[in-house]
């Protein structure tokens, strides 16, 4: 009985020693952590979209401002020369080499502040809108054109509104 008790005590002490050895065997590992901060993408308007002066007729027509600023017409719209017209020009800045997407509006309504309006649609740009546009060193210049729909006997007046151009890194 005395011997049994002694063996039990030895076994217990051995178990404690092993447990203690297991705890001391835990080690640590280092892991690297890093982050790359890119220049946020930004876009600013340099020049607004201006369809110039137009004279309507009894037939509907359109006025098209191309990306390069060329103004053409279809149908009964009469282009009045001597004034100014321009495509919209925007500046995109950010991290050189990153690709980004461009979202142009589907349509926007110009208003004379009263009851008359005209629709602008078919927005176009000289940059890639499929998300593969790579930001050039020093930024990109985005030219935006569109089509203005002039109704038959469109009421005279100054028609204005704004539209939004969206850009985002992919």
């Amino acid at each position: 009985m005395k011997i049994y008790t002694k063996l039990t005590a030895i076994a217990a002490a051995s178990t404690l020693a092993m447990a203690s050895q297991t705890a001391w065997a835990a080690t640590s590992a280092d892991a690297n952590a890093s982050a790359t901060i890119v220049t946020p993408i930004a876009i600013t308007t340099t020049t607004n979209l201006d369809f110039g002066t137009v004279s309507p007729s009894s037939t509907l027509g359109t006025v098209v401002i191309a990306n390069n600023g060329t103004r053409t017409k279809t149908g009964g719209a009469v282009l009045v020369t001597g004034g100014s017209s321009s495509q919209a020009v925007l500046s995109v800045s950010g991290q050189s080499g990153l690709t980004y997407g461009i979202t142009l509006p589907t349509s926007v309504s110009l208003s004379d502040g009263g009851a008359h309006s005209m629709t602008v649609d078919t927005f176009t740009t000289d940059l890639k809108t499929d998300g593969t546009q790579s930001l050039a060193d020093g930024g990109d210049t985005m030219n935006v054109g569109a089509t203005l729909h002039v109704a038959a006997d469109q009421a005279a007046g100054s028609y204005t509104n704004t539209f939004t151009v969206l850009v985002a890194y992919n």
């Binding site: 952590a33 890119v38 607004n48 369809f51 002066t53 137009v54 004279s55 704004t162 890194y169």
Partner: protein, 150 residues
């Protein structure tokens, strides 16, 4: 120890996937504008006042009671369809009357540089832009204008 290493790799992968270059979209507001002017409607009688010569580049304007006026093109832009015509001194008054008719008094018939009038004659869109003009006290003068047909 191996478990610790794997966990570190997973954590790295998560950090890379949720971060990267993705950022919130940014926008710019762009103004859009157009100026619509009223086309001056010529009277029914005026439909007979604008005749086209069979000779390209020559515009013949016939004004009842005032004879006719021939304008000869001095320059043409085939791309825009704009022709520049020169009027003789005696033709300036006749053209001024036509412009007054087109503008329905809006321009007062004044042949000042920059004056632009547009309208329709016999279904033909016409726009006149005065580039330069001089007029004497007796009504005579000279005119340089751009006339666009549409």
């Amino acid at each position: 120890m191996r478990m610790t290493s794997i966990a570190a790799v997973i954590a790295w992968g998560c950090a890379s996937g949720s971060g990267g270059a993705r950022a919130e979209p940014v926008t710019a507001t762009v103004g859009a504008s157009a100026e619509i002017i009223s086309p001056a409607e010529a009277s029914a009688a005026a439909a007979t006042r604008l005749l086209f010569s069979q000779t390209p580049g020559v515009l013949t304007i016939a004004i009842p009671g005032a004879g006719s006026l021939a304008l000869t093109a001095t320059g043409a832009d085939s791309a825009s369809g704009t022709f520049t015509f020169a009027a003789s001194a005696e033709g300036a008054a006749a053209l001024r009357a036509l412009m007054a008719d087109l503008a329905a008094g809006a321009s007062g018939g004044t042949l000042s540089p920059g004056v632009t009038v547009s309208g329709f004659l016999a279904g033909q869109g016409v726009q006149l832009v005065v580039l330069g003009a001089s007029q004497g006290a007796d009504g005579s003068g000279s005119l340089r204008a751009t006339i666009t047909f549409d």
